[in-house]
Symmetry: C2
Subunit: 208 residues, 2 copies
Amino acid sequence: MTDASSPSATSVQAPRSSRDKLLDSAIACFDEHGLTGMTIEQIRRHANSSVGSMYHHFGNREGLIAALFLQLLDDQIARSRAEIDAATTPRQTVRALVHGYLDWVTHHPVEARFMYAARSEVATSSSAGSLKEKNKQRFGPLLAVLKTGVESGDIRSLPRETFASLLVGPSENYCRAWLSDRVSGAPVDHTDVFVEAAWRAISTSPID
Amino acid sequence: MTDASSPSATSVQAPRSSRDKLLDSAIACFDEHGLTGMTIEQIRRHANSSVGSMYHHFGNREGLIAALFLQLLDDQIARSRAEIDAATTPRQTVRALVHGYLDWVTHHPVEARFMYAARSEVATSSSAGSLKEKNKQRFGPLLAVLKTGVESGDIRSLPRETFASLLVGPSENYCRAWLSDRVSGAPVDHTDVFVEAAWRAISTSPID
DNA sequence: GTCATATTAGAATAATATTCTAGAATTGTA
DNA sequence: TACAATTCTAGAATATTATTCTAATATGAC
C-alpha cells in the first residue's frame, strides 16, 4: 500500500488520531466486505476503538462514509494539482487532468473502488453540498483555461456542461471496468489513448 | 411513469405476478429512500406482499437488488437493439449505441439512478457472472462491426478493451451528472455532442 | 381428486445501527 | 499548578432491520 492509504498525511512517527484510525479501518473493512457488507462493529474492532468514539466523530454510518469519501477526493485532487498547475497549453492541461486521474486510480485501487461504490450515496447525503463544491474546485480552473482556448479558436465551442464528461468520461468508465475485472490493462497504461480521445473531443484540429 | 417502469412487458390488463410487484415496489422505495435507505418492510408493504414471499423469490436483499438490476439492463439493451441492428455503417452503429443509451436514461431516470447506485454492489455479488455475460451480449456484436472497420482502415487500431469506454464513457458520465443535478440539460439533448465525440475517438478521419 | 411442488404468510430470531450515560483525557485560563 | 470547560472514549442498553423458520394455502401434473 502506498502512503496515500492513510487518510491524513502525518509524519512517519506521529500516532494517528482515533478519527484517522477509524477511516483507515473503514477502507480495510470495505476492501474485505464491500460497502454494504462492512459493519460498524468490524470497523470499531479493527481500529481498537469504540462505537461511542465512532458516533462522536461521524454522527452515523453515512457520515463516516461521506467523511472518507471527501478525504479521498481531496487527496485525488491534491495529487494532480501540481501537474495541472504546471501545464501551460490547453493540450498539456488536458493531459495533466487525464493522466492525474488514471494514475491515482491505478495506484489507489481500493480507495478508488470505495469512491465509485460510495459516490451515489454521498451525492444524496447531507454532505452533497461539499461534494459539489469540491467538484467545482476541481473543474473550475480547467474550464477557465478551456474558455480562453475557445476564444482563440483552438477549442470547440461546446455546451459548457458537457466538457467534464468529454474529458474524463472514458477514463472513468475504463477505471470502473478495471476495478471490476472486466478489463486487465492498468488504467495508467492507456494514458495516451485517453488523452488523445479527450483532445479529439474538444479540439478544433483533433489531428495535429 | 412510462410503461417501461413495470419490469416485465405484460399486457395492460394482465395482473402482474407477485415477483414483479415486488420489483416495482423496490424501484418506488428506492426513489423515495435511496438504495441504503429502502427496507424490506417498506417494499413488502408497498407490494402488499410478505417477507416470506420476498425471500422465496429473491433469497435475500442482495438478490432482489441484483434481479432488479439485471431486468433493467435487459430492458435497456432490448430497447436499443432495433436501432443498432438497423445500422449499416460503423458511424450509424456508433450513433445508435450512444443515442440508445442517452435516450433510455433520459426517459427512465429513476431506473437509471438505481442502476448506477446498485452496479458496484451487483458487480461483487453472486450475480456478477450474469452481469458480465450481458455486457458481452451488449458490446460483442459492436466490437465485431468495429473490427471490420479497423480492417478497412476506417476505424483506428486501439486496445480492444478501451473501445467501450471511448464510446459510452462520456455519455455515462454525463448521465450520472444529470441524475445528481450537477448539470441540467437532458442527456438525449446532447446526442450530437456525444456521438461526435465517440466518433472522433475511434475514427481514422474524425472530421468527415 | 390427490399428490407434489410452488408460493404466501407472519411470528420468531439474529444481525446491525444507533442512543445514552458515565467517566477519562485534554485544553484553556487564572 | 489548580480548576473548569470541553472534547473524547467506553460499552451497555435500545431500536431498527434483515433473515429464518414453520405452517398454511394455492397451483399444476397425473
